[in-house]
């Protein structure tokens, strides 16, 4: 009878010394294979008497289990070592930069537009639009600018050539023509995006491009306006004041911005006003809501009875207000661009710096900006 203890010691020593999986496998076959040394020992059990078998059985099986366990443990160790070595060889230099990507931006004017829409939509306003090339009726006459009146000169209008009827189209000098288009239905066929008559009550905002022949740090020949129009039975200047006060406070995201209504003159509103906001101009940037200065921020008023009449609405039945913001200018006030002309210069560095991420869509949950 071979000394089982010696055999076990010899085999486990060889298992632990196996340098790789192949060597380990050779030992396994030698010990536990069909004709392996332990398998041969197990075969001898059948020839023994029951008593001997009772004594030898557990010993030989114990030997087999111990060797098998040792082999499994060694196998795991060898596999881990092999994987570690493979992974170590796969090291890359992660200080290297990823492939270059362009960072897209939303233009600040359009971001501001979305911010304004978010605030006004919350107050129940819907959007309306009209064309950039307007006729004299929509841009002036229907808005109560008398023909050849000096009020028209305030607008530095861009003109297109006279047509065969002696009429000249204009680049709209304000978004107010869409007031007319919203209140009055034209019988001509218009593309569906152009406002074309709506029954009161009306509550719209009108963003869009507007044009005046002017260019300096605070004026550009093209700029963006947002018109507002509310028509109902009993809308008065108090509602106008609340609407604008509330807008300013929400847009600038300050609880209360001190505002001031001043009388003004626009042909299409009566009474007319301009609203100023409190600001501080002492430093390099204008600070809204602080300081001792005022800054004009929006023109507004009650829709002139003649304008209502021109659209077929009875001013004794319907009344309301209108206002007009400069979108680009509101943007410069909030975000600090010093020169309005840069808005339209398409300098990629400027767009990257002052632009906004695609994912900063203004909403009332995360704040506007």
């Amino acid at each position: 009878m071979t000394d089982l203890t010696t055999l076990q010691a010899e085999l486990t020593a060889r298992v632990d010394a196996a340098v790789d999986l192949a060597a380990l496998e050779a030992i396994r076959v030698e010990a536990l294979g069909k004709t392996g040394s332990i398998s041969e020992l197990l075969k001898t059990l059948g020839k023994l008497s029951p008593d001997e078998r009772r004594e030898q059985g557990p010993k030989i099986n114990g030997l087999r289990d111990a060797v098998a366990t040792a082999i499994a443990a060694r196998k795991t160790a060898l596999e881990t070592a092999e994987l570690d070595a493979k992974l170590a060889s796969e090291r890359v230099d992660l200080s290297l930069p990823p492939p270059p990507e362009r960072r897209g931006r939303v233009h600040p004017t359009m971001q501001v537009l979305d911010e304004m829409i978010a605030v006004f939509a919350d107050m129940g306003f819907s959007l309306a639009e009209g064309p950039d090339i307007e006729d004299d009726f929509h841009n002036f006459s229907a808005l109560n600018f008398p023909p050849k009146h000096p009020a028209r000169e305030m607008h530095d209008t861009f003109w297109l050539p006279e047509d065969e009827h002696g009429e000249r189209k204009v680049l709209r000098t304000h978004t107010s023509p869409v007031q007319i288009r919203t209140m009055q239905r034209l019988n001509e066929k218009l593309p569906s995006w152009i406002a074309n008559g709506q029954e009161p009550p009306i509550r719209i905002i009108v963003p869009g491009r507007t044009y005046r022949s002017d260019s300096d740090a605070t004026h550009t020949p093209m700029f963006h306006q947002m018109e507002g129009l509310v028509i109902d039975r009993d809308i008065h200047m108090g509602h106008l004041k609340w609407t604008l006060d509330t807008f300013i406070s929400r847009y600038f995201e300050t609880p209360v911005v001190e505002t001031r209504f001043r009388p003004h003159h626009f042909p299409f509103t009566e009474p007319s006003a301009e609203m100023d906001v409190r600001c501080d101009r002492s430093g390099a940037d204008v600070k809204i809501g602080q300081g001792t200065d005022w800054m004009e921020i929006v023109g507004c008023g009650m829709v002139h009875p003649n304008v209502l009449r021109n659209c077929g609405l009875d001013p004794d039945q319907w009344q309301g207000f209108a206002f007009g913001f400069g979108i680009d200018r509101l943007g410069t006030l909030k975000y600090g661009m010093p020169d309005l002309r840069d808005m339209f210069a398409s300098d990629v560095r400027w767009l990257d710096h002052y632009g906004f991420s695609a994912f900063q869509a203004p909403n009332t949950a995360t704040g506007l900006s």
Binding site: P147, F158, R209, W242, T243, L351
Partner: protein
Amino acid sequence: MKFTLSWLKEHLDTTASVEQVVDAMTMAGLEVEHVEDPGKKLAAFTVAKIVEAVQHPNADKLRVCQVDTKDGRLEIVCGAPNARAGLTTIYAPIGAYVPGSGVTLEARPVRGVVSNGMLCSAKELEIAEESDGIVELSDDLAVGAGAVEAFGLEAAIDFEVTPNRPDWLGVRGIARDLAAAGLGTLKPDTTAPVPGKFPCPITIKVDGDACPVFSGRLIRGVKNGPSPAWLQQRLISVGLRPINALVDVTNLISQDRCRPLHVYDAGKLTGTVIEARLGREGEKVPALDGETYEVGPEISVIADASGPIGLGGVMGGASTGCSDATTDVFVESAWFDPIRTAQTGRTTGITSDAQYRFARGVDPESLVPGLELATQLILELCGGEPSEIQVAGQAPAPPAAIVFDRTYVKKLSGLDVSAARIDEILTKLGFTVDGDTVTPPSWRRDAHGKADLVEEVARIEGFDSLPALPLPEIARPPGGALTVRQRRMRDARRTMAARGYAEAVTWSFMRRDWAELFDGGDAKLVLTNPIAADLSTMRPSALGNLIDAAARNARKGFADAALFEVGPNFRGDQPADQWTAVTALLAPHTPKHWAAKQGGGTDGDSLFTLKADLLALLNEIGAPSLQVVQGQNAGWWHPGRSARLQLGPKVVIAEFGELHPRILKAIDAEGPMLAFELNLDAIPEPKRKGVKTKPALELSPLMPLKRDFAFLVAADTPAGDLIRPILGADKALIADARIFDVYAGQGVPEGMKSVAVEVVVQPREKTLTDGEIEGLSGRIVAAAEKAVGAKLRG
């Protein structure tokens, strides 16, 4: 326009300060531009007396003076030839900033003698353009009195008048509003008629089209010359130049009453008739400004027997101007039509004080009172004997009475104002209140209806007392505040930005020759008055502007640009000719990168990157699936490297590709550049409008299988054309078909190419048998053959 507090006080009994006046003006609707206060810059300067003046020991032209000042007796070095003992002048202490010379005084020796201050000239104080020596003041002035008081300097309030309120172009008109606003009491008008001593020897004739009403009188035996100091100072204080007494009187009254007048040297008139009529072709007027103006039948002229001698309501003629030699003066007080005067201003380019006022609408009732006031002042300043007043023509009708329900104030403005207070405000503003009706005064030709009256009441009561009331709740539109199109514009912006493009906003106009590059430039769309020649023409496409933007960035060293714009393009001048485009431009100059593949110029990748961006954009904004059509793009695209996306055979949704080098060269841009232009308005609105629920999702529990097919097609067949027929071969089973290889060369017949397609088959109810798969493959091959003549590669 400008005025001073002392001038205002001629009409307004008030104790208000300049600041209070400015605030009250602002809240009454008069926009104050700024207050020019000479007192601020001269605050440190005071009156002083030279006690002794001796020759400087080291300099011929300097004197060392002992001066009594507010700071005691000081030694001051002075270079002025008139620095002499006993002279009362102006002293500036050490530390004072001298505005005329731009220096701050320091105590430092002048040729060895320390000067403890400075004696000043009028130029150094900026109260005169030129000066000779130091200021010489009256000996009555006390040492230490301020320079501002010594010179009678006053702050000038510079303000802007809205076109509806010409009455504010006279100081009295401002005083009236300020009185109504509670700042003081309007003083009564003391103008009294001056009886004529003889009939006017000059006959006035008017043509109503040229001048509705014209009054005048002759004053003979006047002695013209410089105006007295008070009148000169008053004109200077508001920025006007004194000329001579007769002219200064007219300018004063124009500023004071918004009543423009004109004075003619009667000795220079030809004949005895002055006529206001329309100009005639070929007539010329040499005007007072030294220019000669051609007039025509759209312009009012004043004429005598010699022809036109003035531009009516705009400017007098040189031939009949008043000079110091004038002894007989004819004074004109007329009313010119606002529209005609505005037209004359535009035609001649003249914007005189008179033109400005008549164009806005002068009070027609001020003709005779203005003439009387002028007579009064001329007699006072120049003596003479007035004729009787002659008036020709008919003043326009006064403003009509307005029926005014006082409760309308509350309804329109939200302000609670009592009926008595309403009437008080209107009365103070000159309106006549009579029961239910209110009649505007003759100078308020802007007041037509009850809303105008509400404005008067509200602005005087004060806009600061307006309530703030929330808007009533209204039903919200079901789709939100935006229409589908507006929402698409917004989604397009954010999709493009998310894909790495920077949003530009470029002008709606461009150079005409650039517009022509993109089939635009129609004369109908060329502005008659562009702000610059390169911004003259409404753009047919934003591509030109974006190419130019990328080129400008490249010239600054930033060539790698990905730009987009969402904005209007113009086919014509009608509303329906305007369309909204999403335009993107890619100037691929990717920075060098350590892992980049080798390759130069525009590689296929960039073009397909752009195509991927375009398809992603279409997907985000909910466009239906579109067909790629190659070879039909407009001429500004590279003929081989561009295509369009169509909806059916006619509707072009987008064009994309590389831009034609000819276009880039014309815009001075370095190529290559890639672009797309997407017509947002052409994308149909979704059919399932307003339905929020999504179609039910069917998830098959069975594994999808993939089968590869290699087709042979003609080399010029668009490989993409294989996809639609393959998908159509079995719409239920075929989930996807993807081209994964395109090959031509060895093993493929000449003129052919091999296109390898992986087809994804999704069994729906049961696993497919070999036979079923075989049958499906057959249908796929048949469909490909039928559509594009494809053969399965053997």
